[in-house]
Assembly symmetry: C3
Homo-oligomer: 343 residues x 3
Amino acid sequence: MSYTLGQLAAKVQGVVKGDADLVIEKLGSLEKATQKELSFLANSKYQSLLGSTSAGAVLVKTDELAQLVDNAIVVSNPYLAFAQISHLFVPATHCWSGIHQSAVVSPKATIAENVVVGPNAVIDDDVLIAEGCVIGAGCVLSRGVKIGKSSRLYSNVTLYHDVEVGEACIIHSGTVIGADGFGFAPNDGFWEKIDQLGSVIIGNNVEIGANSTIDRGAIENTQIGNGVKIDNQVQIAHNVVIGDNTAIAGCVGIAGSVKIGASCTISGGAGIAGHLSIVDHTHITGMTMITKSIDEAGSYSSGMGMEPTGKWRRTAARIRRIDEMAKQISSLGQQIKKLSDKG
Amino acid sequence: MSYTLGQLAAKVQGVVKGDADLVIEKLGSLEKATQKELSFLANSKYQSLLGSTSAGAVLVKTDELAQLVDNAIVVSNPYLAFAQISHLFVPATHCWSGIHQSAVVSPKATIAENVVVGPNAVIDDDVLIAEGCVIGAGCVLSRGVKIGKSSRLYSNVTLYHDVEVGEACIIHSGTVIGADGFGFAPNDGFWEKIDQLGSVIIGNNVEIGANSTIDRGAIENTQIGNGVKIDNQVQIAHNVVIGDNTAIAGCVGIAGSVKIGASCTISGGAGIAGHLSIVDHTHITGMTMITKSIDEAGSYSSGMGMEPTGKWRRTAARIRRIDEMAKQISSLGQQIKKLSDKG
Amino acid sequence: MSYTLGQLAAKVQGVVKGDADLVIEKLGSLEKATQKELSFLANSKYQSLLGSTSAGAVLVKTDELAQLVDNAIVVSNPYLAFAQISHLFVPATHCWSGIHQSAVVSPKATIAENVVVGPNAVIDDDVLIAEGCVIGAGCVLSRGVKIGKSSRLYSNVTLYHDVEVGEACIIHSGTVIGADGFGFAPNDGFWEKIDQLGSVIIGNNVEIGANSTIDRGAIENTQIGNGVKIDNQVQIAHNVVIGDNTAIAGCVGIAGSVKIGASCTISGGAGIAGHLSIVDHTHITGMTMITKSIDEAGSYSSGMGMEPTGKWRRTAARIRRIDEMAKQISSLGQQIKKLSDKG
């Protein structure tokens, strides 16, 4: 895998400054890249690194910046260009092709042309896999699963019955889609299971990280919109609906029946209580707890940053007595009023 | 799968109002159900939906409510009745039967009649599976595992050696039971592993969600009581003991040697520090941190709900200075006292 | 598995007090151990249990303590000695040996002598497994994975391409190492994937719990130092570097490009925001959020412990108005000053 700087510039509608025949074999950071590597400057904050980098070439935004290095590709959005070029340097992730003989594939499944099914994968009845898909080793696709074209499941993904995944999706290992939502009716001290009769419907161009879970709906389907990006260890409960192009970072938990709009970002460790609605273009910062619906786009927070433990303990002890403090303030105000009146 | 309204009423000791011969093919919500679907009214807050629903029939609590729709089943607890009826509408989740030829089953394992073992499941020596169990594809049951009758493991569940699961349990995909507890002795800057010699014992009628983890005990066993319900991505550390019918929502973390009573509910994202005891009938709200034992039944919280980020930042900055605020209040009080004394 | 007290004392450079021929078959706690079991007293707080224990023998720190029981091993660090002795009592965890015939092993993989590969494991091209390793059932080792000698992967572990694991490591079930980091460039309302071209390099003597995730680096590698211990359900994002002998408890989330020093401890449920540096010997308490780099060793916190829900609600409502409270205090101060000036 190697490309000339000219070839790479053409891929991203960029302009070469310097040696268009320079051979690039790898991508690298400004700090560590070597002569055969292409780096990028996405944030002007790091501009000084252009002086010291050993990168063979750098993706930059302007001709002025290009003059600070020997070779450059000038492009309007260097970070996006870097992302696009990254696709060219992906190594082989697995070395099998076709349907591996150890896979268990139901004769009632329909598998299109040009599909890879890895070793020990299990494909049950009525599964439909469209062309160009890669199903990793050890994946289980239960009865009636449908996968749109060019989607990729890494190893050991589990899809329950009737789950539908769109086109050009990526699902990472250990992720479980379509397990039962957590639904029980109280019955005299016991919990009566409510069988979960909906499914999970996932749009196109969705990526889901490793060891995440998306539960099937109780009655209706859980729905993940097009272009949604979900990180690792995210929990999405039953009946949740997520709008297009929303991005959800690691360790987020979303309780049942939440509706999240389009183009939202939810940072790591945030939690969203059940049955809430969140409008498009909402941003939630790390470890925030959402307990009310959000009707207005914007950024929302409740995460508290750390302090040295000793100081935090005093702070926490004061917080516990804040109600008392408020009453003291009120009492002081009255005393002052009395003194003023007297005076 | 279809039933007459009369058949369904009989299942839940309900009384049909309207057409007992109406054929129900599915369950649905009041908002979306169609003529072939049965819905339910569990919460009088939604009573107005009875006027607009297209559901073929509705489970309701009283004759008066039944009069608001064409067909109804009157039953004392419509939500419980809905749960009970949900069992009748579960579709096939997998299409294999018996012990799949691709499963690896030790000749020293004992598998009762009427057990399903899915493709590529692995059953090690001395495993005992009672009648009526379903072991999903890709599950690994290590040496000495015991599963009580009519329990179900979905695909890709991992049970370590000697783990015992009771009767009528459900364990969802990706869940790992019996991995080593996190136990190390400090040894001159290094960590010396403490081998975890206990196991995990799970009662009857327990349900465990997807990608949860329950570690084996260090010396004694980790124990999960009867009727306990555990959601997805819950972490239960070594030596934990959980009482009967306690329910634990997604993303909860329970540290080592915690004892939790019966009939507790723990909401999503809560964390419980090690070696604590929590009495029966304790309720913990979302994202709460438990750092002391709880001796009195009731509800406990420490989760802070979100605000717009700008406002929250000011709030958080003030919180950091709350100790100073308290001292200012105290100082103001003294100044006022001086003024009063003077006056 | 049984040993005389004398044999066990020799393993830990301890001195027997009492019957060196006593046969020990098991380890036990002071409260529950029986006559055939060895227990330990690590914390003088529990010294009174020595009077009531039925343990056959106890690991203790001093001769004086030894006199309180019939049989003892006196050793300078009883807890460490207990850890060392625990290794002797591990039962069989699996009953297969060699390379199981159901495993799918590439002819281009290199597997050393004395390696166990469990049923249905999948070993891709160019994988290198050193001597003495145990690869559990259902594990997937993708193209180019390297595992150092005497390492153990429990069942259903997934390693992506090019991941390297050192010697004497333990990785528990369901853990996924090397999935793509969560990297996307915004592109006109969509997210353009940044292919993750680094890998994950794990040192020696590392233990990783169940269902944890460690993502591959974007450009450079994600790195886990020697002797690091990671609990269950921990999420480590791309480009993270963790120093030697740091221990990370369950449910911790570490965002991208964080550098954590050596010999740190991070308690359960903590979260660390991206691109931060944390010095050696830092300790982070449970459910703390780290949003700034830590330059000074010590303990850091922001987790808030629970209160009864009613009291907490009043507290939380006051917290939301703390800015107002601070302004009231300031106003009161001015009023007092005026009164004083007047007086």
